[in-house]
């Protein structure tokens, strides 16, 4: 149900079409370099419109998304060469963000010609002219953006490269779980214990909040304990009780690390009870994240339940295989595939609600001045929302997979998250949810960070 609007220009007439290139440039190097191209009378195509910002570090990925929404055929991002930043390090930080954005765009099947990055110094008027000419030539090659919303070919939502696997018998820890919760509550070590209780539908578990030692019999544990309870650590209705005891699987514990890293919780306010976990069930099979999980034991805990853990070797590639499957498609196929996914998005924000790391008190998707993300639940707004969500989780997502589990429209958010986690791991050597003392990868940089994607 796409909305034809004034804001989304209709498909251009190919005969008269001229590419529209929006350039976001820093004030000190590239803008001045473009000035130099002017003073040197170096001619280049008139298709470019410059938006001047103080620093490449000020170039928000949202600006780029918005430019495309407003009908740009291509976006060029340009700043100072490494070492030249007027603000010392703006371009180094920007480089990391751009690296992620570049990978994300590629993964979504956006032609590389449409999103280009360059370093142009104040002395490189010639280079500016060359870069613009080159990018415009690239846009002429790929042609106008084809609006393909809706009607995208029906492709399978999941790769069949790894067949669903049965869930192993859950470990029997319930007795010790209840005893521990009881002890913590009796000793006033915690004011509320967050675990799992029986759900109202058969075979379902759901979060349970135990505030009295007498209630611990409500606690249960089995393969249906899917929820990442770390999400509740930042929730007012849970925090109101005081100190929180939390049952964590190894994936959940990684989210707690993220919250500590980002100072959303204080370590002493939270007592973690680790539960050895050998897999949970989603859609009647072993959850994809469990295929590649290499530890039944959470790393960050205060106490841990004891159990004999059978050796379950990590095998299969899990999401990596599916990422490879998506990447094997042609860019156009990939774009269509993602568009079909995003088209289904209802904007219910269940993905945001369950994510332990989406804790902002006011999400930018809810802001209207400026309006970061169109609220329209159509191609435009849905693309922007899903891009923003993925980008904000880059280097932070711990891969608990909750967003994908709860999506009422079966959108493969886990693939976006996992792809960016791959990029962050390969490019910045960082895996989220490990060491709470490390800075998140997009808040730091290395001089030697890769920049092959930058001209």
């Amino acid at each position: 149900m796409s909305t034809e609007t004034l804001l989304t220009p209709s498909a251009p007439d190919t005969a008269t079409w001229k590419p529209r290139l929006v350039a976001f440039v820093c004030n000190w190097c590239t803008y001045t370099g473009a000035d130099l191209a002017g003073t040197s009378r170096t001619e280049y195509p008139a298709n470019v419109r410059i938006v001047r910002l103080p620093c490449s570090g000020r170039i928000d990925p949202h600006f780029i998304i918005r430019a495309f929404e407003q009908g740009a055929d291509g976006v060029l991002v340009s700043g100072c060469h490494p070492g030249d930043c007027h603000y010392t390090a703006g371009n180094y930080h920007a480089r990391r963000k751009f690296m992620v954005l570049h990978a994300l765009a590629e993964f979504l099947g956006i032609e590389p010609e449409r999103l280009q990055f360059s370093w142009v110094s104040a002395a490189e008027g010639r280079k500016w002219a060359d870069v613009v000419s080159d990018v415009v030539a690239g846009l002429l090659r790929v042609g106008p953006v084809q609006p393909t919303w809706g009607g995208a070919g029906e492709l399978p939502v999941r790769s069949l490269s790894e067949p669903p696997r049965p869930v192993p018998e859950p470990l029997d820890v319930v007795g010790e779980l209840r005893a521990t919760a009881q002890r913590w509550l009796s000793d006033c070590r915690v004011d509320v214990f967050v675990g799992y209780g029986q759900g109202s539908l058969p075979g379902r578990l759901r979060p349970a909040f135990i505030t009295s030692p007498d209630e611990v019999d409500q606690l249960v544990w089995n393969e249906h304990a899917v929820n990442n309870l770390a999400t509740y650590l930042t929730r007012g209705l849970v925090k109101r009780h005081g100190r929180v005891g939390l049952l964590v699987k190894s994936c959940d514990a990684r989210a707690v690390v993220g919250l500590l890293q980002e100072r959303q919780i204080e370590r002493e306010q939270v007592t973690l009870l680790g539960v050895p976990c050998i897999g949970v069930e989603v859609d009647g099979a072993l959850a994809p994240k469990c295929h590649t999980c290499d530890s039944a034991w959470p790393a960050l805990v205060d106490e841990v339940l004891s159990a004999e853990v059978p050796l379950t070797p990590v095998d299969g590639e899990g999401l990596a295989a599916e990422i490879a499957w998506v990447e094997k498609m042609s860019p156009a196929q990939r774009r269509a595939w993602w568009q079909a996914q995003f088209d289904r998005c209802l904007r219910c924000y269940a993905c945001r609600a369950v994510c332990p790391l989406c804790y902002c008190s006011q999400c930018i998707a809810d802001q209207s001045r400026p309006q970061w993300v169109s609220k329209s639940s159509d191609g435009r707004g849905n693309l922007a929302w899903n891009l923003v969500r993925a980008f904000h989780l880059a280097g932070r997502c711990v891969g608990c997979g909750e967003c994908t589990r709860v999506c009422p429209s079966n959108i493969r958010l886990d693939l976006l998250n996992a792809k960016l986690a791959q990029v962050v791991r390969d490019e910045f050597g960082y895996v989220a949810g490990g060491d709470p003392d490390l800075p998140p990868p997009l808040t730091t940089y290395l001089l030697e960070d890769h920049e092959e994607f930058i001209r």
Binding site: V22, T42, A46, R49, R58, Y87, T444
Partner: protein, 657 residues
């Protein structure tokens, strides 16, 4: 309701030639929100500016777009004009029709339509501009100078003599730096120590200079006008208040054969030592890494020898905190050791220029007589090699060290003066003698003193019995040469002082790949840095000679004094601000900010209970880069002048009009 005025400049023919300015003016008047549009031949001229001012008043304009040249050219001009008409200067934006349009697009049709779009973009932006007021921050009129070489001494004295307090921090036990080590200076052959020592004493006795030697800057917090500096005073193991500098302790020390830093390894010193005779302060220090007492736990001879009882083995480092408003970085340089090239090997008779200075210095280990380190004999043949590490992108440093040509000429001359029948050979690549009287000096060395200048580099040096064999080339004649030498002096590359990169980080000053601190602008702001209130003097910024260093240090002093001339500091209001209502206190802003501008602010209710801690941007420190704005996921930070809303509006105007 916005009433925007658009003023289109012909710039003579510069814009009008390729852009149909009349058509643009006509079309610009149709842009929603535009109340007035006109074009004029020279908008920056007085009549042009008057047009703007008059229109503002007559039409009640709420924002101005001047479509003319680059804002880097005339933004200030038009901001002033707008202000003159009573409108806030930040309600003026420029559309760059010249550098970004008429000068680079020859198709008049294309250039004209692009010009109109550029104007539409700025109209959309200026509609959302907010009036901004300059930021004022208080000023501590006290300066910190880091480094007690000639640069630091000069800057400190200039500032202090102008009546401002100075804190001078020197890492070594004495101030003086490299200049105190030099024999004589080119091209006048003044005795370096003779001109340096009085300056050092003046520093010591100056009532406005607080001197910390054997001390390092540990941490720098705050911002221009309001720095808090933590200084680590390393333990001298000597009570400064009691010591008279008699030197009895140094004579009793059983360790006597430690390579002297001051003599660049050409002489020796004890474990408790005064670096050199004219040291300021003239106090000994114990080198704990070599002292028997510290290594083996017993000795104590110096304590026994000290008549004042001021040896204190228990002394510890102390931290002192100083509040200053400006900082001068003057950490100086080092020269590379003479062992860079394996093809030259390492031989006691191959030394670097600084070591040769000590051999030539009257106060040096040989009392000014050049002698071979290997056997103490006077060298009869000395080969000087310039560019021994400089201008070598492959294995040394790619830059020119700037001072070697001159000091090598001086070395050859001084050597010839001291060893009349000796032969001096100088291998060089180019002679860079651009200072006053420098070229004449070099020619004097070649023509009158008889130094043999050879244009080429040396490929190999090896020992053959008592002598060194130097294989070089003279490219002017196209021949390979083999010279037997008693001593080889390598003009090794000038590099920044080790640790100056770490200091630059503490000061938020960028530095280049070699560690030289970066100035704000190579031409127009050569002593400023991009961190307001931090200035650069001397060789920490690039290799340079003494006159340039002294001039630059004076420049720094002038900048510091100019800064101190106001009681408050005015800064551009392009700074970030936090929306405290939505800030979730992840403090990623703090992690990314190159200037340490984000602070933790506690929000309390009326009863004083702590509600939340949120981020707060210190406007005095914020440089306005916007990195925090982009990093903030909840977008609780925005940048005045380049706000998210302004930028989105610009993007919204990008669609064809």
């Amino acid at each position: 309701m916005a009433r925007i005025g658009v003023f289109i400049c012909h710039c003579g023919e510069n814009i009008a030639r390729n852009v149909d300015v009349d058509r643009v003016a006509e079309a610009a008047a149709q842009i929603p929100g535009v109340a007035h549009a006109e074009s004029y031949r020279y908008m920056c001229s007085d009549p042009g500016q008057r047009k703007i001012r008059e229109a503002i008043v007559a039409q009640g304009l709420t924002g101005i777009v001047v479509a003319a040249c680059s804002p880097h050219m005339h933004e200030n001009t038009f901001q002033n004009a707008v202000e003159g008409a009573g409108l806030n200067r930040y309600l003026c934006e420029m559309a760059n029709l010249r550098e970004h349009c008429s000068w680079v697009h020859s198709d008049r049709e294309e250039a004209t339509s692009k010009a109109l779009e550029l104007i539409a973009i700025m109209v959309e932006k200026v509609k959302r501009n907010q009036p901004l007021a300059p930021i004022r921050v208080p000023m501590t009129k006290r300066a910190l100078v880091i480094g007690g070489g000639i640069a630091g001494i000069q800057a400190a004295l200039d500032i202090a003599n102008a009546g401002r307090d100075v804190v001078l921090v020197e890492r070594e036990p004495s101030i003086g730096g490299h200049m105190a080590q030099l024999s004589e200076t080119f091209p006048t052959l003044d005795c370096s120590q003779c001109i340096m020592t009085p300056r050092m004493v003046e520093v010591k006795n100056h009532p406005r200079i607080q001197l910390y030697t054997y001390a390092e800057v540990e941490a720098v917090d705050g911002y221009v006008g309001n720095f808090t500096v933590t200084i680590r005073r390393r333990a001298r193991s000597v009570d400064e208040s009691k010591c008279t500098g008699c030197g009895a302790c140094t004579q009793r020390c059983p360790q006597k054969k430690i390579a002297s830093e001051f003599d660049a390894g050409m002489g020796q010193r004890p474990a408790i030592f005064i670096p050199f005779a004219q040291a300021v302060p003239n106090l000994p220090v114990i080198d704990r890494t070599r002292c028997t007492m510290f290594l083996k736990g017993k000795c104590g001879l110096c304590a026994k020898a000290c008549p004042a009882g001021c040896i204190d083995y228990e002394q510890t480092d102390t931290l002192v905190t100083e509040e200053v408003g400006a900082i001068v970085m003057a950490t100086g340089f080092d020269v590379q050791p003479p062992t860079l090239y394996p093809e030259y090997g390492s031989d006691p008779d191959i030394i670097n220029g600084l070591q040769f200075e000590r051999l030539l210095s009257a106060s040096g280990p040989t009392a000014g007589e050049p002698r071979r380190p290997s056997n103490g004999e006077v060298p009869r043949s000395v080969v000087f090699v310039a560019c021994a590490g400089s201008r070598d992108p492959a294995r040394g440093v790619p830059y020119c060290s700037s001072i070697c040509c001159m000091y090598t000429a001086k070395h050859a001359l001084l050597y010839k003066h001291k060893v009349h029948d000796g032969q001096a050979y100088v291998f060089y690549m180019d002679i860079r003698a651009a200072g006053k009287n420098y070229d004449a000096f070099v020619h004097r060395v070649i023509a009158e003193e008889g130094a043999q200048y050879l244009r080429g580099r040396v490929s190999r040096i090896y020992r053959d019995g008592d002598q060194l064999v130097v294989r070089g080339a003279d490219t002017l004649s196209g021949t390979a040469l083999t010279i037997r030498a008693d001593l080889v002096v390598l003009a090794t590359a000038v590099t920044p002082r080790p640790g100056s990169d770490a200091l630059a980080q503490k000061l938020s000053v960028p530095y280049d790949a070699f560690g030289f601190a970066s100035e704000a602008h190579p031409k127009l702001r050569p002593v400023e840095t991009n961190t307001a209130g931090v200035f650069l003097a001397g060789t920490c910024q690039a290799p340079r000679d003494i006159p340039d260093t002294v001039a630059q240090a004076g420049g720094c002093a002038a900048k510091v004094l100019a800064l101190f001339s106001a009681d408050q500091l005015e800064r551009e209001p392009v700074v970030s601000r936090v929306n405290e209502a939505t800030c979730v206190a992840c403090f990623d802003c703090e992690r990314v900010c190159p200037f340490h501008a984000p602070e933790h602010r506690e929000l309390r209710n009326r009863a004083g209970d702590l509600l939340r801690v949120v981020s707060h941007i210190n406007e005095g420190v914020c440089a306005g880069c916007g990195l925090c704005v982009v990093t903030c996921r909840s977008h609780s930070i925005d940048l005045a002048g380049f706000s998210d809303e302004q930028t989105f509006a610009e993007i919204g105007a990008l669609a064809p009009f």
